[in-house]
Symmetry: C2
Subunit: 502 residues, 2 copies
């Protein structure tokens, strides 16, 4: 398979090669210009896949032959021979660990290597990391909205951009805090717990109550096993299929923890999280009601991932905003709560919001920092290879990310720092961090992944830890306090010099 | 690889199996409830991939073992043995040819087979056909907006849902009428012409004009070859890289057809369409301007496909709506036109519109038609296996799609038909079609594709032919006239009987 690359990258590579700059040392970075979903943060995800893409980066003989056939005949033939020699063996990648909270304008990932290869890798990395980070971020926002106890299921397979778009959605929504997926393949490949509800077509395949066999809730404890569910709720069309599914799945949830938990048997703990606990016990697969009475919003498939959640009858659903309490239905003492549609834009308060995507940016060539000049200060780049620090306050919340030149000494905890905050660069700000964390680790060197990569559940746990560290003001979904990002005085000086020199 | 299936499908399959209904003959169909993008039509696409998915449909021993491990332990073991025997060998699929215009509520595809298998196939078909049809439809709308001459490039690789989402976008935007893609892999796999512009990072890698070498437009005819492009336009920062790219690609377009065509050399014909014509001549890869001054809207990545188009200087861009003429820039006598962002929602007049997705619907079980009862007439299903006819008027435009029971004789051209139009079922309407086309063909039978599948360029051509047949009132992008869909009197009677019987 050819590298994930756009033709213009190859054309630019030719430009570099013609100018003899192909091996000029270069550095580039990926970052969000603005936080997605009108929040204050993103979750960085897709790193492991991006690194795999890097390791596999190579133009095969067939790829080169193909490029020869489509590029202009005037292109120097030696260029194609050169393409065939390329790989990522001279590339170094540093990044924030996968699942970490990342902020706008702070590089999530930095790539160093020969200019030509660094530019060719842009699309590979963006394709594997951009969507991953957006899905994980959105999932994290749903988790914050739903609170820690509610179960969140990703059910996007039917509406994704084909099989691997769906697999990515399952994986990265799990990382972001979802509990499970309906996608069997994602369960099989990644060990994500699989769960589901029932489809319209199942309901429609029963034309009358007599066709419903068996009718009791077999295998359930106590009185439930003796109920004739179809008779019990003949008027409640929407719920008959629900009882059918309980009956015909024959599932046997563990004995509920309290008498009012009932056949749904969902635990109020986050017990469905671990893939090892999949086997039927607390969370039988067929226990959500059918989707007859979906609100119109469900038809919204812009991002094409549904989410459903259900709470226990004894707990009324809580969320950080208190909104979206629709679709709470009461039946037989059980409150069934569905959070419809994980459309990226629907989670309040971001309706209609356009979310940004990751940007790649060249920051250094031949040892000289690059600056993108633009009228719009927000669009200016921060030049040079950087070290990134997260500064924590006494309460343990991160309060600022600080970018420094790579060669600067790292700031110390308890030390007063004079820094410049992006957005008000004209003034110096003094801060004293209680703790300082160096964010980037080196993940790729000499063509190999050089840092152990955590498992999927580990990344998922790290994401929740990372989110929980945020102060409530930065974490909230609705009009969060912007998270300040700063540069050191030296980095600011470099920026000024470059701007003056242009 | 496990079939593309959701867990709830397997659970429902168990429900059928427990009830002894697994082999009940059943029929289901896929359709849009409403046309996407506020248009009147969709393009049906993804059929070939859907059929491949059907042929491959099978639970391997490993898949079955996995399902055993995640489903409740109370499930009868014989069910898993049964799952291992399943394939699509008893399934029949009829569909409208890929690339055809399809209308809301008219089945694009019908599946017949054993109930349990038909329901298991739902997700496979939706996953492979839904996104394909939406991309192709959106691309067709851009083609209508841009007119026949403008070149449209798909550049979504960086923002897609991973590699195969990007490949699907390339393929189905090509089917819908785009000319080319920036995605090298899509070019290599599908023969789609590959083209591109240049990235920010290429521009940023040059820090001064002196670094730009070579500086002329080598290989170009006439005066262009003697220009020193960087000197020519020192103030026009946005265009220097453009000239650099021309220079360093060394491309040599064919002699322009008219003196004012210049170095871009784009033909005003649709000459870039055929993949066989890729080699440099009319449409060199590096001749679009950089994206420095993108409007804000470009940041919109909800559907994540950019589109760019460029017109010849002597022709002012035309479109069916006359809008979106921004970004037309004039330089050295060349008009460069960029249509930014193929966001599904941005093409006027559909800003902010939520597009529907394909729905699956069971229409018959055990020889009895199924009806979905709902308050909302729009959501009612049309029961039974159907034959679908497209009725044409004397001008050659389709004016109505007609659904009939499979066993009804087909309507004849020139014959007066008494039909019921959906949305006003209470009255009979008389129509006399000049031509009648039977829309569905049988594509899959006995586990095999049984109808030759057209090549990608053939599907693309068919799509344009199908679109061109539409009357201007139905084809227009802004507030099109709704396309009427009708049922025969017999189908309507069946509907009434079923509704009464419920």
């Amino acid at each position: 398979m050819a590298p994930l690359a756009d033709l213009y990258q190859v054309s630019m590579a030719y430009g570099h090669w013609r100018a003899g700059r192909q091996r000029a040392p270069a550095a580039a970075e990926l970052f969000f210009r603005r936080p997605p979903f009108r929040g204050s943060f993103a979750l960085g995800a897709g790193l492991a896949e991006g690194l795999r893409g890097l390791r596999a980066f190579r133009f095969s003989a067939a790829d080169v032959a193909y490029l020869r056939s489509v590029l202009p005949s005037t292109i120097d033939d030696a260029f194609f021979d050169y393409l065939a020699t390329l790989d990522a063996s001279e590339v170094t990648v540093t990044a924030i660990p996968e699942g970490s909270v990342v902020f706008a304008r702070v590089p999530f990932l930095q790539v160093k290597g020969p200019l030509l290869v660094v530019q060719l890798l842009e699309t590979t990395l963006l394709c594997l990391i951009n969507y991953a980070s957006l899905v994980a971020t959105n999932a994290a926002r749903f988790r914050l909205l739903a609170g820690p106890d509610m179960k969140l299921i990703e059910m996007g397979l039917r509406r994704a951009q084909g099989p691997d778009g769906a697999l990515s959605a399952s994986k990265y929504s799990y990382i972001g805090g979802f509990d499970c997926t309906s996608n069997i393949l994602a369960g099989k490949l990644y060990g994500i717990p699989v769960r589901g509800t029932i489809a319209h077509s199942f309901i429609m395949s029963f034309r009358c109550l007599e066709e419903v066999q068996p009718r009791g809730l077999q295998g359930l404890p106590g009185a439930f096993s003796r109920l004739d569910i179809p008779i019990l709720a003949p008027e409640q069309r929407g719920f008959i299929p629900w009882s059918i599914s309980v009956a015909s799945s024959g599932s046997a949830p563990a004995a509920p923890r309290s008498p009012d938990v009932g056949p749904q048997g969902w635990s109020s703990s986050a017990g469905g999280v671990s893939p090892e606990r999949g086997r039927g016990a607390e969370f039988p697969p067929l226990l959500l009601p059918p989707l007859w009475d979906q609100p119109r919003t469900q038809g919204n498939s812009r991002c094409q991932h549904w989410v459903m959640a259900k709470s226990l009858p004894t707990r009324s659903p809580k969320s950080s905003t208190g909104r979206r309490r629709q679709n709470a239905q009461l039946w037989g003492g059980f409150r069934v709560f569905c959070l419809f549609s994980a459309d990226f834009h629907q989670l309040p308060p971001q309706r209609g919001h356009r979310f940004p995507s990751l940007l790649p940016q060249l920051v250094e060539v031949n040892g000289s920092p690059c600056l993108k000049l633009t009228e719009d200060e927000e669009k200016m780049t921060i030049p040079g290879m950087k070290a990134i620090y997260r500064l924590y306050d006494a309460a343990g919340h991160p309060f600022m990310d600080l970018m420094a030149l790579e060669e600067e000494p790292s700031p110390s905890a308890g030390q007063e720092l004079g820094i410049r905050v992006l957005g008000r660069l004209e003034e110096t700000t003094k801060v004293i961090p209680t703790t300082v964390e160096s964010l980037h680790r080196t993940y790729f060197r000499d063509g190999q992944v050089c840092e152990p990569l955590p498992s999927l559940p580990e990344v998922r746990t790290h994401a929740q830890v990372s989110l929980n560290l945020l102060s409530p003001a930065h974490r909230r979904l609705h009009e969060p306090q912007p998270y300040p990002v700063a540069v050191t005085e030296r980095l600011h000086q470099l920026f000024l010099e470059l701007r003056q020199g242009s």
